[in-house]
Symmetry: none
Subunit: 227 residues, 4 copies
DNA sequence: AATGAATGAGTATTCATTCAT
DNA sequence: AATGAATGAATACTCATTCAT
């Protein structure tokens, strides 16, 4: 059996084991046995548990980003792009529950080498979403009420606040998506589209309002967006 | 030193250790040393690592629910209540990072005994939010267009779908909150209030729309909620 | 069984095992079994194979230096002191073959932490011998032909050369002693006194001649020391 | 690449690795990699780690004996011969530190197959030196006072004691040489000739005296050899 | 209320060695 | 003449847990 294939098998088994048991609880013995080879071969090809885990994270990370960005049409309206990306995201995590578990649950709880890789991926997604939101503000196809407002000027006017708003917002969106993905994996018969729809429903108006400068405030009841 | 006090010290140390290292990587040795007692005493009081972990989850779980519900005035408008609860949530997780880590990251990855406790807590919060949303539908101070719609009826009409919607929604909300909590902890000078505001802005309209039966759909551009 | 005693037992077993098998070939399992305890106890008390080995080296090193210096009378003539020290040295190594093997054979072949300790001890011995040789040069009881020569002046005259000569000489003496110790351990019925006598016979005249400025030279046949 | 050449490369790598790391710590992997071939080839040519080590010892052993005996002129005076041999010895060990390490440090600590080979070599050298000393007794150019004594007869008279004396003496000589070799390698600018000179100075008279039956004794101060 | 002494059962990692080609 | 693929057996080290006091 050629090395490349064996390595793939090993990574598959490792992703599965790490995803189910966690980094510490996963044993190299189990991984080797799942592949049907002896432990030394795993070490020969992948060097150490740590490197194996890192390799899993990297592979799953790249696969996820690839899946999400694959179907998106660059020219499309922002909400369309977001929709497509979300469906792809939920579809990928549904097909790859172990990989998703590795990224979402396991990788983040183990000090630096690992968390960094996930953070990198997460930042890529956040940046992508941030870009989308920014684009939304500038295009006619954005959420309804945005078109007739001078969003861009406002945006430029207090860029700092807006930047942080957008960052927080993107964090919230990605976090919501992550959480929904875990939920969708555990709940029977939740399709990627349904999960994506839930998130769009949940977040899209809020995004629009935010870009329009609408804010919910503590003191006064939320100032209505539509006079 | 009285037993109750010692037990509290032990749980403090355990929460801290479990939160930082994870269940598997945490060692009873470290916990005992942190308290400054010998290991047998820890076993005498708390029986086993597993029980200790379960106790930690229970305690932190209850503390979180208590913190979130503490400040809420039952009679207040729904958005006000949600706001108060979110601020309390972000404040508590910021002050209690280890406890939060135990609940959010560690507890869910270890077979039944543990995950169940967290699920229970999450359900309590979801039920609370669901109640708020239901109430919103019935009061005049809810998000704009909700009052003149027959939300409750709709909701009752197809309860199954709605239940799942609400569950997904709650997942999204909690996920967003979790993500924001992490972001707030990492980003300097983000106060609990700011995080809560971001989340309110992000989610409030979406919540209202959802309850109002408004949906973003793929085929047509989202039907505007407000003409 | 009190800890101190157990630790002593462990070190005894370790010295024996390291001495016989070498650092790498010695196994912690064997050491634990020799003591009649489980491996974890060895680790609990002595931390690691490396630290255990280092502790062995230190202990044996100190024991050897103590044995050698114990019987020496500071005021005695140099040859007498040397003789006493050598007998003690050979007696100690004969009673402690494993300890001597650890110091002489094992410690020196394993990179820094270990070799350093032995080097330190060796240097102490070399310095001691060097002192003796220096003293010899200044006292009337030195080897015969030294008394009527102006050794001290010569010594002061070309201090640099002399220093290096003495250093090399001490190295040779200690090396010879080490080698003889190993040989005495392997050969039946060689008493410490016999070994010491062999070395005295071998080296003493040479020492005397050297101090007297006599040199064997390549070009001319060795210039006779006694005209 | 012809087999003979490959074997030589392998032995070179092995000597180097064994010399630096020791028998146990040396790995066949490292040796193969150093040569730039695959492990199976090493096994094809040299069968096993044990045989490889034995082959190294044999080769280095023979090389050392050859080097030491090469320059010696059979007819020359004994001290001259010893001098030449010592210079060759120090030169060879200086140029061949790994080979010397294998012989001196590694070979002796591993059960029979290996130590025997080194013992054989050492015996060859001892016999050679013994021969030299015997010759010295018979020639006019020996150390001063030896010529007029009946050394040979004495020697024959109590052969047993003498044999052991000579053995011990050879041990001391070789030990001194070994120690000096190490010292010379560590100390800058100590040439083989200087090391050899130190040893000659140190030992030559002692050798002569020993053969002459002179002994240093404990009770009386050493009976002077030369009035 | 508290501990010093002790261990059974695992876990990652390494290495000499072989087989089929 | 040479190698890629593979492994049995060992080894250092850890950890939750108990017992006698």
């Amino acid at each position: 059996m050629p090395r490349a294939e064996r390595e793939r098998q090993m990574m598959d088994a490792a992703v599965r084991t790490f995803g189910q048991r966690g980094y510490r609880a996963a044993s190299m013995d189990e991984i080797a046995e799942l592949v049907g080879v002896s432990k030394p071969l795993v070490y020969l090809y992948l060097n150490s548990k740590e490197e194996l885990f890192a390799a899993c994270i990297r592979r799953e990370s790249e696969a996820l980003v690839a899946a999400v960005t694959a179907g998106v049409e660059p020219g499309a309206p922002a909400d369309r792009q977001l929709w497509t990306g979300l469906v792809a995201f939920f579809a990928h995590t549904a097909e790859n529950p172990h990989g998703w578990a590795v990224l979402h649950r396991q990788a983040r709880m183990h000090g630096e080498p690992f968390a960094a890789e996930v953070t990198k991926m997460r930042e890529a997604l956040v940046a992508y979403v941030t870009g989308l939101i920014g684009a939304t503000a500038r295009e006619a196809h954005g959420p309804p009420d945005l078109a007739d407002r001078d969003v861009v000027n406002r945006d430029l006017a207090d860029r700092d606040v807006a930047d942080r708003d957008v960052a927080g917002l993107a964090q919230a969106l990605v976090g919501a998506a992550e959480s929904l993905a875990a939920w969708a994996n555990e709940t029977p018969d939740v399709s990627p589209k349904e999960a994506a729809a839930t998130l769009m429903n949940f977040a899209w108006t809020g995004l629009g309002n935010l870009m329009a400068g609408e804010r919910w405030t503590e003191q006064e009841k939320r100032e209505t967006a539509h006079r």
